[in-house]
C-alpha cells in the first residue's frame, strides 16, 4: 500500500473543501445554541418547517418566483452565448481575414477589462435607451460573444478537429455554415456543454450587474432576492432560517454541476482553460 499516504492526504483535503457545505446544510436544522456549540454537522433533530419558512421569504414573492426570474435570464443568455461564441470561434479557427491578429488580441484583452470600468457607462447607456430594470442589459450583450473566455475555449476545440473533415464536407458540396452545423458542432459538443454549464453557474453567481441594472424587487434574480431576505431577516435571531435560505441558493448550482459533471470536466480539461 504505497498509495495510502496519498489517499489520506487527498481525503483530508477533500474534507476541508466539502465540510463547510455539509456543516451549512446541517446547521439549517439547528437551534442558535447548537450552531455555535458543536462542530459536528449532523443536527439533533430535523424539522423541515424552516425550509417552508425560508421558501416563502419576507418579500411578497417566494423563492420559486425568483428562481424563475433567474431562468428568464439564464435561458436567453445561454442560447445567445452559445450561438454567437460558436460562430465567432469558427471564424477565428478556420478562416483567414484582414486584421485577424488584431481582433484576436482584442478578444484576449477584453477578458482583462474590469467590469467596474465598463459598468457605469453601460448603466448610463441602458438607462438612456430605456432598458433599465429589464433583463435586456443582462442578456443582449451575450448575442455579441461577450464572454471572450468561451470563444477562446471553442477555438481550442475547433483546432482539435482535423481540417480534412472540413475539406471532405466541402467536396460533398457543404458551404461554410453547413460544415459547421453538420460536421464541426457534433465534434465539439463537450465544449458547448461546458459553456452552457458555465453560463448557468456564472449567472447564478452574478451579483454586481443585476444589483446595478435591476431595481424592482419583483424582477430580482435569486442572488439579489437572497441578499434582500437575509438583510431583512436579521442575523441575530432565526439563524437557521438565514442558513436555510443560503442552502436553497446553493442547490441549483450544485445540482447542475452534478448532472453535467462528467461532460463538463472533460470539456474544461480538454479546452485547457476555465473561469
Amino acid at each position: 500500500m504505497k498509495k495510502l499516504p496519498l489517499y489520506l492526504l487527498l481525503t483530508a483535503g477533500a474534507a476541508v473543501m466539502l465540510y463547510p457545505m455539509l456543516w451549512l446544510i446541517g446547521a439549517s436544522f439547528k437551534s442558535n445554541d447548537e450552531i455555535f456549540s458543536s462542530v459536528w454537522f449532523i443536527p439533533h433533530s430535523v424539522d423541515t418547517d424552516v425550509y417552508k419558512n425560508a421558501w416563502r421569504t419576507v418579500t411578497p414573492y417566494n423563492m420559486g418566483h425568483y428562481f424563475m426570474n433567474t431562468l428568464m435570464i439564464i435561458v436567453p443568455r445561454t442560447i445567445f452565448s452559445v450561438t454567437s461564441s460558436v460562430l465567432v470561434a469558427y471564424g477565428f479557427a478556420r478562416f483567414d481575414f484582414p486584421l485577424k491578429r488584431l481582433f484576436f488580441a482584442l478578444l484576449l484583452g477584453g477578458m482583462a477589462m474590469p467590469t467596474l470600468v465598463t459598468v457605469m457607462p453601460l448603466f448610463l447607456m441602458w438607462s438612456k435607451l430605456g432598458y433599465l430594470d429589464t433583463y435586456i442589459p443582462l442578456t443582449v450583450p451575450y448575442l455579441f460573444a461577450a464572454e471572450g473566455m468561451f470563444v477562446f475555449i471553442l477555438i481550442q476545440f475547433f483546432k482539435g478537429v482535423p481540417k480534412e473533415f472540413d475539406e471532405a464536407a466541402r467536396i460533398d458540396g457543404c458551404g461554410a455554415l453547413r460544415t459547421l452545423l453538420y460536421i464541426l458542432i457534433p465534434c465539439i459538443r463537450p465544449a458547448i456543454v461546458s459553456i452552457m454549464v458555465f453560463t448557468f453557474l456564472w449567472t447564478m453567481n452574478d451579483f454586481l450587474t443585476p444589483l446595478i441594472m435591476i431595481q424592482s424587487v419583483e424582477k430580482y434574480p435569486l442572488s439579489l432576492a437572497l441578499r434582500l431576505s437575509v438583510d431583512s431577516t436579521g442575523q441575530d435571531y432565526e439563524q437557521n432560517k438565514v442558513i436555510a435560505l443560503s442552502v436553497i441558493g446553493l442547490i441549483p448550482s450544485v445540482t447542475v454541476f452534478a448532472i453535467a459533471q462528467k461532460k463538463f470536466v472533460s470539456g474544461i480539461t480538454a479546452g485547457g482553460l476555465t473561469g
Binding site: G13, M17, F36
Partner: protein, 297 residues
Amino acid sequence: MKKRTYCNPVGVSRFTGLLLISPFILGLAAFLVYPFVCSFLLGLTDYDGIRPPEFSGLENYRYMLKDRTFRKALGVTVKYALILVPLKLTVSLLTAMLLNAEIKGIGIFRTAFYIPSILGSNLAVVIMWQYLFTSKGLVNQLLSMAGAPPVSWYGDPDKAVYMIVLLRLWEFGSTMIIFLTALRDVPKELYDAAKVDGCGPVRGFFAITLPQLKSVIFINLVLQTIAAFQEFNAPYMITGGGPMKSTYTLGMLIYDEMFRYNEQGYANALSWVMFMVISAAVAVMYAVSALMRRDEE
C-alpha cells in the same frame, strides 16, 4: 495564432471569416470600446448623475492624490493581491500534482476539489463564510479544540482580510484544473530520464515540472491578479469593507463613489486608475517572463 496556419479554401471569400466574427466586432464596439472611452471622458468631468456632466479637466485625479480613502483602498487591494495570488497559485499547483496521480477514484477527488470554485460569490457561500468566522463559529471552535486562542475575525483589522483571502483560496479549483490539464501534457519520458540520471522528486519538480508549466503559470498569474485587483463581491457582502476599512478594496470604493455618493465623475476616474494599475501589473509580469525567457536562450 502567430502564423497563418490555415488558408481559406478555394471559393471562400476572405470576408467569410469577418462576417462570422462580426457579432464579436459589434459587441466589442458597443460593450467594451464605447464604455471604455465613455469612462475616460466621464473621469474628466464633475458629474452627479442628474445634472449634465461638467468638464473639470484633471481635477478628479488631483483630488485622488489627496484622497486618504483612495490611498487606503489601493493599499488594501495591493496587499490582498500580494497575499492571495502567490498562495493560490502554490496551493493550486501542488494539489494539481497530487491529483495528477493515476489511482482509483481520483475523479471523485478532482470533483471534490473543484466544487467550491463553481460557487464564486454565490450568496450561500458568503453566508456560510460569515457563520464559519463568527466569534463562536466553526473556525474558532476548531481553533479552541486545537488549544489556540479564538480570533476576532470581524473585529481585528489585521485579521479580517484573511477571511476574504481564505474564501478565494478555498475556491482554487479553477486555477488547479488549468494546472492539471497542463501537467497531463508534460511528457512522462522526461521524468523517467531524470530518474535514470539520479534526480529525485524535488529536483524533478524544479528541473522539469516548473519549466514545462511556465506558460500556464503565467496565464494563471495574470488571470488571478486581474481577479484579485477587481475584488468587490466578497468584501462587500462579508465584511462591508470593515473593520476600520481593512477590507475596503478599490472595487468597493468605486462602487460607493458611483452609487452611494453619486460622484460619478470621480468614480470613473477611479475605475480608470484601477484599469491602469491592472495593466501595469500585467505589463510587469509580461516583461519579467520575457526577460526570463531571453536569459534561457
